[in-house]
Symmetry: C2
Subunit: 359 residues, 2 copies
């Protein structure tokens, strides 16, 4: 006897299969909805999901490291939905015409395990990382912050710039990259955005006078992008690029002189800027600040650090937005990622004839 | 400066995207190649991969449990290739017209993280599980085995039957399921196979006189499908259905009176029949027997147990076969799961115009 399916997403899956949103369709979605509006909506989802932190089954991501990069799986689930992201990090990829970071993921139904939604997540990861950064800065940076230094002008930099403009009111960017072509690309892409952008000759020059410093560099090494003498009282540091073992951006003394916030402590101890600090180095999980359980910035002079590595829950929040918006805009297509069986107990029977499989 | 891509699979990915093999196309592949030939080829791949066990970066699968089922991610990698499988287990799914087990997975390039091949793995999991079972029995069962009891006649049963017929020379099946309709379906599907199939009234009746006993039941509980009085000297027990915490099929006394073989010990201690045994309960990893490093069956009278839970490496082996065969038969299509960027450092620029994204 068949039970009626109540969940509308599941009902559509049973009828028509998995909703698939490829990279070109995701780009079309973002163009039609607007980059800033996408980032704002994802930030709202992240906020809502972080506020119910205890509802989620959380785990540090599962990483496979090689000499040249890393491939990671990032699962998370609440009682209704499960998501995972596949994501790589290979700094040498651009030499082959490939992105440093490529990602895709799935949103599934916990009650049945049905993969409801398969989506590209390369573009989506850039959106959600920017949304997370801006959400954290909104809570942790000085409210009068208007100038941001942006160190590392690669694939993620424009998304960070727009997120801080629209969610925080940043009006001026001071940018630097070891590759001048990257900064030139950033300047070109931000024309017409309303942001005042100054290309600087060094990190120190870019950081001078900034209220917020965002580091989003790609080198896989323990780099010292920011050193103590660059840091001024009251700054907020948004450290995005240091996100796996052996890949950091901040001098350790900066962490000791700051209040440090992380997403999910067990993962950040392995992957974040704090990987070089002792196990008892004090950090605050950001959700605790959002819920008012711990304090954020304690004074206008304090230096705050958001030691961001990217957590699975942010992808869960982003996948929810992409699924809903794809449905709303009629983007994507239905695919038979799992077999639509006339009789689910008769997998073998589905091999008998094409008709049975297509049924 | 662009480097030339040497790996032909990667070159095709750079040019045309990820090869996607959906469930209907995988069924077409199996029809055209033949079920038994697919199982034999996958068994050969598993054998080859298990023989170089030390080359793989192995990890127990990452499971998200709920009251009604489980969703798992199963990654594994060698120096060249990375694979993962998404798979659920929800015994109540058939009430909704969905399979108990649904799966898909990816084969990726370790050097770049590129997702080369995305495939359905529901049908493929049934093939690879049967291939693994038969490969283990080929090594562990008595060479003169001709009669197999098959307990649990659901979605995987026909694949087990054909694997044992073609890889071991089983000629007679004695089958039992609590649901007579399942046995009737199995009998119907095996007509014309050349196997002599007897439907029995109980597990005890089916097991009587069998050389090999395969249990592949679906109930998620600590069931006692096989009890000690059913077991005869010299039997080989292929315990497939007990594969997660709280889901077992064998009475503990059977394990104590047998020699027990597992795939990957750290995972089997959590998920296998041995989950109820002390941590020092002796087991042998099957690859050690394949490589001649440990003994398999020690005498014609010994009872051997393959305590199978399904390991990521078997999916890696199966994905290799499906990719190669799909390429060979021209099945599947290329999809843009990750963005094909004209300039990989300019993700944002890809949003500017449809043309740029499609480039």
């Amino acid at each position: 006897m068949k039970t009626t399916v109540q969940n509308p997403d599941l009902a559509r899956f049973v009828e028509a299969g998995t909703l698939y949103l490829g990279a070109p369709e995701a780009a079309e979605l973002v163009r039609r909805h607007g980059v800033a509006a996408c980032i704002e909506a994802i930030a709202a989802n992240i906020r809502a999901d972080f506020l119910r932190w205890a509802d989620f089954d959380k785990t540090a991501r599962v990483a496979a490291h090689s000499d040249v990069g890393v491939i990671e799986l990032m699962p998370v689930a609440d009682a209704q939905r499960y998501s995972f992201k596949y994501v790589n990090g290979h700094p040498g990829n651009t030499r082959l015409g490939l992105s440093t970071v490529m990602a895709f993921g799935v949103l599934a139904d916990v009650a049945t395990g049905a993969p409801l939604f398969l989506s590209e997540l390369t573009l989506t990861t850039a959106l959600r990382t920017a949304a997370m950064s801006a959400l954290a800065a909104k809570v942790l940076a000085r409210p009068d912050s208007r100038v941001m230094a942006l160190i590392g002008n690669g694939a993620q930099s424009e998304f960070q710039a727009l997120a801080f403009q629209h969610l925080l009111g940043i009006t001026e960017l001071r940018v630097y990259d070891v590759d001048p072509a990257a900064s030139a690309k950033l300047v070109g892409n931000l024309q017409g955005s309303g942001l005042r952008v100054t290309v600087c000759a060094s990190t120190a020059e870019a950081v001078r006078g900034a209220d917020i410093v965002t580091t989003v560099t790609a080198d896989k090494r323990n780099a010292l992008i920011l050193t103590p003498e660059m840091i001024q009282p009251g700054m907020h540091l948004n450290a995005v690029g240091g996100d796996c073992p052996g890949k950091t951006e901040l001098h350790g003394d900066i962490l000791h002189a700051s209040k440090v916030f992380v997403e999910y402590e067990p993962q950040s101890r392995i992957e974040g800027e704090i990987q070089h600090q002792p196990a008892d180095f004090a950090v605050t999980e950001f959700w605790q600040v959002l819920r008012g359980e711990r304090s954020g910035r304690d004074s206008a002079d304090q230096v705050t650090v958001f030691d961001s590595v990217g957590f699975a829950l942010e992808d869960f929040s982003a996948l929810r937005f992409m699924q809903q918006t794809a449905e709303h805009l009629g983007l994507g297509e239905r695919i038979a990622l799992v077999p639509p069986l006339a009789d689910p107990k008769n997998l073998f029977g589905s091999l008998r004839a094409t008709a049975a499989v297509a049924a």
